[in-house]
């Protein structure tokens, strides 16, 4: 690739210290706070995307066998949109927000001012290596921070390309890429950051948060979970099936944080649903999906082995009703559906993150909520397909997840007015749109007082008269206040 990025021999704690020190100096000098700087960096990302689309698509092909359309739309186009939105809206986002003031602080004016945290660390994931690296970075830049980005080593071609592109297009005194695995990440985590933004799994997230705790560093953790799809019976089955397929196999072959993980439907409706899946899957991917170019592969042999194990478990291997073909050499598993899977199976007790779709059966569709809530952990997303208004309402009221979608899957990702993030095991904090700006901003309360009126009631010596007046001020009743000032007792 002709990369000119110098790969350091060992990126250890000392090296990490040096990087942080340089960024702190740049930040202290005020570079990243300037509006022009922020605009220039966002424009640089836009240019980076526009001028290197073929290379990005090729890197994603190499790392994930990701279909070109998925790369162009879900990584490049979405990223460009994030940049364009920030460029358009940033002038509004950075304005202080006026806050109302009340009698207790009269006379005064108050506002909430957004300021950057300072030097932030963004740790990205392997499944959408460009999007999940640069989307948070867009927010960090818009908010005026200096940034270290650590892309995932499990997508090495993308990591390498990102490092090269950032070095070429962006201001390296304020934005750096550090490549590597456990050693490098640990070295980075030992440093004091002003904010850490992590995308990945719950196990590593605990390590990240524990490291952050040593420095009281606030974190955003974008994790995952088992995102359920509840399917009611009186629906447009073909549309519903297509949307589930698009969200599952159409998103990196099920390796996405908000991919439908499993389906819950009634015993009566299940046969119809399975038939519909079979029909539409063949329509999209042909008779031999293992050879289709429209499906990402499994990212590496570790995950291939993990998914195989899920399929091979005794309780479950007999439940496959569609697919199940595997090609170990090319790391491909065909879209696989399992019917009536027991809830204590392996496949129902970890996030699948792959092209396997178990279907859980219930007697009545209302029972699905119990199934979903019984897993004990809150997923990043939950989906419901129904035309029943009451069911929709119950869904929103009783199912807790990062985000909910009725009658579709994954689309809420594209709505920048919706906060994107998890709750409980699926994460903490949110981003996208203005929420990205907010995630990387400290909201400072600022109160301006004049020297004019001074409330003598605040000061000692404390007397009953002052107490009466304070009471009246708290209750806000004008009559009470007047009474207290004149020393009249309440009738």
């Amino acid at each position: 690739m002709g990369s000119e990025v110098e790969k350091k021999a060992v990126f250890d704690t000392e090296a990490a210290k040096v990087v942080v020190k340089e960024l702190r100096e740049s930040f202290a000098a005020g570079k990243t706070k300037s509006y022009e700087w922020r605009v220039s960096q966002l424009k640089a990302i836009l240019k980076m995307m526009e001028e290197n689309e073929p290379q990005i698509v090729a890197a994603l092909r190499e790392d994930l066998s990701k279909p070109e359309l998925e790369s162009s739309i879900y990584e490049i186009a979405m990223l460009k949109n994030a940049c364009k939105l920030a460029l358009k809206e940033m002038k509004h986002w950075i304005l202080p927000e006026k806050a109302k003031t009340s009698l207790t602080t009269f006379p005064s004016s108050a506002e909430i001012v957004s300021e950057p945290f300072g030097v932030v660390l963004v740790i990205s994931a392997w499944n959408y290596p460009f999007l999940l690296s640069l989307d948070p970075v867009v927010g960090a830049i818009a908010a005026g921070n200096a940034i270290v980005l650590k892309p995932s080593e499990i997508a090495p071609a993308s990591s390498s390309l990102l490092a090269k592109l950032v070095e070429t297009y962006m201001d390296n005194s304020c934005i750096k890429v550090v490549e590597g695995g456990v050693t490098e990440t640990s070295a980075l985590l030992e440093q004091k950051w002003d904010k850490i933004f992590y995308t990945g799994n719950g196990r590593i997230a605990r390590i990240v948060m524990a490291a952050a705790a040593k420095h009281l560093t606030p974190v955003v953790l974008e994790l995952g979970g088992k995102s359920p799809v509840i399917v009611d019976s009186d629906i447009n089955l073909q549309v519903a099936t297509r949307r589930i397929i698009a969200g599952k196999w159409g998103c990196n072959n099920g390796q996405a944080c908000i991919s439908p993980d499993y389906v819950v439907t009634t015993k009566d409706y299940a046969p119809k649903l399975v038939d519909s899946f079979k029909r539409e899957l063949e329509r999209f991917y042909g008779k031999n999906p293992v050879e289709s170019n429209d499906l990402s592969r499994i990212v590496n042999s570790n995950h291939f082995a993990r998914l195989s194990k899920l399929l091979d478990e005794d309780k479950v291997s007999g439940k496959i009703v569609h697919g199940g073909e595997r090609d170990k050499t090319n790391l491909k598993i065909s879209p696989t559906i399992l019917l009536d899977v027991p809830q204590d199976s392996l496949i129902m007790n970890e996030e699948i993150f792959g092209p396997l779709l178990p279907i859980i059966l219930v007697d009545k569709v209302e029972d699905s909520f119990d199934v979903v809530n019984s897993t004990g952990t809150k997923p990043l997303a939950a989906y419901l397909f129904t035309n029943d208004k009451k069911l929709k309402e119950k869904f929103v009221a009783t199912v807790s997840a990062g985000g909910l979608v009725v009658n579709d899957t994954t689309v809420h990702l594209a709505v920048h007015t919706l906060p994107f993030g998890g709750v409980g095991e699926s994460g903490m904090g949110a981003y996208h749109g203005k929420f990205s700006f907010d995630a990387f901003s400290h909201k400072k309360a600022v109160l301006y007082r004049g020297f004019g009126a001074d409330a003598f009631v605040r000061y000692p010596p404390y007397t009953n008269g002052k107490l009466r007046l304070l009471r009246a001020l708290v209750n806000g009743g004008l009559l009470d206040i007047i009474r207290a000032i004149f020393g009249w007792s309440k009738a």
Partner: protein, 466 residues
């Protein structure tokens, strides 16, 4: 201890079950609890004043101004705004935004953000405003619909006792529990899984709390402290005249014999008394005392004390004082105060007394703190439209007013679609034309889309990596 731990786990399990029943989510439940707190404060005001006086030597007017009064104000606000806070207020905005901004493929969606409680939350309070710092977070937790466990500070035992013994009579004990105890109980509590932990206290303990929370991926709000500077611009006189003025004011407020007046709270306990005594009796520091300095260990009394230019490496200038000692640092130029402040960790608040517009602007943009107040001190605590919280060493997260509700809520994104329209280019098998359509859709380029569909737009150079 094991027995206590098992009992605790069982109690918490029951509380979780109750939460799952959905009772605490109901608006009338939340209102009833908030009203219960109002009645508690009203009916027990005398006992509260007595307890605060016993624990801290706090005068009842100060107790009202800083604790009871503020809580009453917060409760009034929570009750009057509860319906607004609970509603999916974002719905309209999101729909409008959605219609205006969504790529055409999602144009038939409705989008809203729905607040929901996090579940079972832990509030750990502290000793200096033992009532306010216990109940203020609790107001937010209840308003947001959570089940709550409160651990008040053992260093303010009279208030802690009042909360454990009397408060339960006013609240739903199936969802709200108050647990007394010191570090041992604190540790047991931290081993449990919570849906949120709200902590007020020191940075040292804050780190322990956040580390424990990390085990369960529990989000935290940490209200900590720091060295809050007050920057005094020359205004219309020099600093030594300012000091003279301070001496006069102190005498006016506290009389010639502050110890006798009972308007000054005492030091909380012998440990803190000794800590402050050590700060003052450091020989390098003692020299710089220009007012006050007298101490009485028996009554845990330390006089309001002013020092000028104690050495910067001394404890009094490197640790949070948390006591009645006020060091004054003099500088050649007031602008140098910015570098001075920035050389230390970010405080909870900065107070700047100045009429200089330029200096004000520099303060605002070049320093960082939880809050910044011009020409006053402390009062931001009472402004419930301003977020109250720290940054860096002074804390994580914020509360007060609606921010309390927010800090104990999860804002759930909800998007709805109809079955009616779907765009065929959304689904594989993929080809160049579908890619073009997506691209024009994402660029909100509807004319472009039409041209592609009609076959009139020339496909731009595509590369073949398949």
């Amino acid at each position: 201890m094991e027995e206590i731990k098992d009992n605790l786990e069982r109690e918490l399990l029951v509380m979780r079950e109750y939460f799952r029943s959905g009772r605490t989510k109901e608006a009338d439940w939340r209102r009833a609890q908030l009203k219960g707190l109002q009645v508690f404060l009203k009916e027990n005001e005398v006992d509260i004043f007595k307890a605060l006086n016993q624990d801290l030597g706090k005068h009842y007017v100060e107790a009202f101004r800083d604790e009871v009064g503020l809580l009453r104000k917060s409760l009034n606000l929570a009750l009057s705004d509860l319906k607004k806070w609970m509603s999916s207020k974002e719905r309209l905005l999101a729909v409008v935004g959605a219609l205006a901004k969504l790529p055409i493929m999602a144009v038939l969606s409705y989008a809203e953000v729905v607040p929901e409680p996090l579940g079972l939350v832990l509030v750990i309070s502290t000793w200096n405003f033992p009532l306010a710092l216990s109940l203020e977070p609790m107001i937010g937790a209840i308003a947001a619909g959570n089940a709550v466990v409160l651990k008040p500070s053992e260093l303010a035992p009279a208030i802690s006792s009042l909360l454990v013994n009397t408060l339960p009579n006013y609240l739903d004990n199936k969802a709200i529990k108050i647990i007394e105890g010191g570090p041992a109980i604190g540790e047991k509590l931290l081993q449990q899984k919570w849906d949120k932990i709200f902590f007020t206290g020191s940075g040292k303990v804050g780190r322990i709390i956040m580390s424990a929370a990390a085990n369960h991926l529990t989000p935290v709000t940490l209200e900590l402290g720091g060295k809050c500077p007050a920057v005094l611009d020359s205004l219309s006189w020099s600093w030594d005249k300012e000091v003279e003025l301070m001496k006069v004011m102190i005498k006016k407020m506290y009389g010639d014999n502050p110890k006798e007046l009972h308007s000054v709270a005492r030091i909380i306990n012998k440990h803190h008394f000794q800590r402050l005594k050590n700060m003052l009796t450091d020989p390098m520091v003692e020299k710089s005392i220009i007012f006050g300095g007298s101490m009485d260990e028996d009554s845990l009394f330390i006089e309001p004390t002013i020092l000028v230019d104690p050495p910067l490496e001394s404890a009094i200038m490197t640790e949070e004082i948390f006591g009645p000692l006020l060091p004054i640092i003099t500088l050649d130029n007031i602008e140098d105060s910015i570098d001075f402040i920035n050389s230390k960790s970010k405080p909870l608040a900065i107070y700047a007394f100045t009429k200089n517009e330029k200096f004000r602007k520099r303060m605002l943009s070049e320093t960082s703190s939880g809050s910044l107040v011009f020409n006053d001190a402390i009062i931001q605590f009472a402004a419930d439209t301003l977020p109250f919280g720290g940054i860096g060493e002074s804390g994580v997260g914020k509360y007060h007013g609606k921010f309390s509700f927010d800090t104990f809520s999860h804002y759930k994104a909800v998007a709805r679609r109809s079955f009616l329209t779907d765009f065929w280019f959304r689904f594989p098998p993929w080809n160049n034309q579908k890619l073009e359509l997506f691209e024009t859709a994402y660029n909100y380029d509807y004319i472009g889309m039409l041209l592609v569909i009609l076959g009139l737009k020339r496909s731009r150079m595509r590369f073949d990596v398949n």
